[in-house]
Subunit: 313 residues, 2 copies
DNA sequence: CGAATCCATAGTCTATGACTATAGCGGCAG
DNA sequence: CTGCCGCTATAGTCATAGACTATGGATTCG
């Protein structure tokens, strides 16, 4: 059985006239007759009674019509849902993102995304980079935002922006200025992430460059917990500047710029190289860039905080 | 889009492996790849991500799969319902039958039919021959049982059996013997159907052959009513012998054989020549003959009455 | 009874799908 | 790291299926 036959059949069933039906499906009348004939032969019975000038459905035809119509409808819908997906009118997007980035970028990002694509079901998971890569490889994530560089076969990355890291210290801790050299870290008690975290590795390597050995007094996995520990005076830490600024509650912390060298890392998009990225994923990637540009440019202060408050409410 | 593509698609979606899927649908792997490729091209997006050794559905593929599966299911069902119809496992049969024949033949007939084809929805309408023909022509009836001969274009008839007509008289009316010549009708007051009824015409012509002019004292359309009028002594009548015997309540009537000549008419099946007759209709027609044979043969008396009572209850 | 309408058949041509062979790519083991 | 294996995509050839025009046969209507 062929879809063509079902279409022709429905046309005849509708018009009860082979010639009109043929016009309607844009074929010649003999072509249509042959297809109907083939269908009837395959089914082993007549679907139409040709009563001289009139054509009527046989009982078999009536029964057949019900399912033929549904079948064609489903085929149409199959194409329809795909087209809606392409137009980003429906779909699902699962994003994995670093918890730090999550705090300041994701809120305004999802806000914009939802505005433009209200019918896309968006899911955001805060995860460390390694989890994100794993999620991509196992198809649990469509796209990820993680630290670069990331050299993994099949995973393509696109740099988005650089994150400056800053020294975060409790208000009681005397540093001296609003800026500090990396060397100045040597005597400070630090609260950092465990050794297998990207951020920790990055701090270690920057310290090594500056020739200092950090004094780690506490290890915590979540930046949230680290900030709290710092606020209670357990020690200082090193975290992305934007992250800390975005969640600074009432300035119980000092944010001190680091230099010589300034520790920084690159944040970027990651996705499976061969995996198909639909409209929604591409638009999301594009929005990442424009949103980050907005955050870093003039609108940084007030605009960001407004957005943050809005989505946090 | 083609059904073939949907089938191949479902095979790949199931096996997540082009080569295995190809085996499963009995085509070569390149053939299947080309069809999937064509489908993806038509839809404008990938349905599968080819990740090295692995194949996974894209989001578009997942959405598509739902409807593709339903479409194929409907196609399968379309064929299924027709096949069940052919096997007389489902269907509908609308029969038009003469009210006289209805009384003695239909009861055992539908009983047998229902036994053999319990899932066929059977509808029986008691109508005069002219209505039956009209019903056939307008497709309200699938098959009819009426008086022959019937010369109408497009309507084919098959003789089933001959119905002998008998003189029916109230017990009070003295006829003389158990047999009567047609001539003997001349002095009798008769209750007959109106002039446009086949049965009446038939009686008229038989009388004409015998050279008598019937004295009609009452005209009624239903044989039921006529019998009642006769029972009350209004007059005699002429009706099919089997009909009267089948509904004789407590023998308030005498049934007198007529001869010289014996009035009789042929009852037969009628259907639209060009109309497709499915299994159910054909089986019904066959059952008509065998049932009638049984009625006319030895099993006439007791067996018939048993059947009648059973279905009348 | 002739004209018109309508479906079926015959014959021809194009296009599509299936096949074999093979290339290309990624994964795995020695 | 290199060679083999598994899997999909591409190239080229061939047969079939479907579309078209012309026409026949049957029925209806004026």
């Amino acid at each position: 059985m062929e879809l063509r036959q079902l279409e022709y059949f429905m046309a005849v069933a509708t018009h009860l006239n082979f010639s009109r039906a043929a016009e309607h499906v844009h074929v010649s009348q003999p072509s249509l007759s042959i297809q109907i004939g083939g269908l009837e032969k395959e089914l082993g019975t007549r679907l139409f009674d040709r009563l001289g000038r009139k054509v009527v459905l046989t009982q078999a035809g009536e029964l057949f019509q019900v399912h033929a119509e549904r079948a064609l409808r489903e085929v149409e819908q199959a194409a329809q849902v795909v087209h809606e997906l392409l137009g980003a009118k429906r779909g699902r997007l699962v994003v994995g993102t670093l918890s730090t980035v999550n705090s300041y970028l994701i809120a305004p990002l999802v806000s914009r995304f939802k505005q433009r694509f209200p019918d896309i079901h968006l899911q955001v998971h805060a995860q460390p980079s390694s989890e994100i890569v794993h999620g991509l490889l196992t198809n649990r994530l469509d796209i990820g935002i993680c630290l670069l560089p990331l050299t993994h076969t099949h995973v393509t990355t696109i740099p988005l922006f650089e994150e400056r890291l800053a020294l975060i210290a409790p208000v009681g801790m005397k540093i001296g200025k609003r800026r500090a050299r990396m060397q100045d870290l040597a005597p400070l008690p630090l609260v950092l992430m465990p050794a297998d975290y990207c951020l920790r590795k990055m701090v270690e390597s920057e310290c090594a460059k500056a020739g200092v050995h950090p004094q780690v007094v506490l290890e915590m996995t979540s930046p949230e917990g680290i900030l709290q520990a710092v606020a209670e005076g357990t020690g200082a830490t090193i975290l992305p500047e934007l992250y800390v600024k975005s969640r600074l509650p009432a300035s119980q912390l000092q944010i001190i710029d680091l230099y010589d060298p300034t520790p920084r890392h690159t944040v970027g998009l990651a996705y499976l190289t061969k995996r198909h990225r639909d409209q929604a994923a591409n638009e999301f990637a594009a929005l990442c860039e424009t949103t980050m540009r907005d955050l870093q440019s003039g609108s940084t202060g007030s605009s960001r905080n407004k957005r943050h408050k809005r989505t946090a409410a």
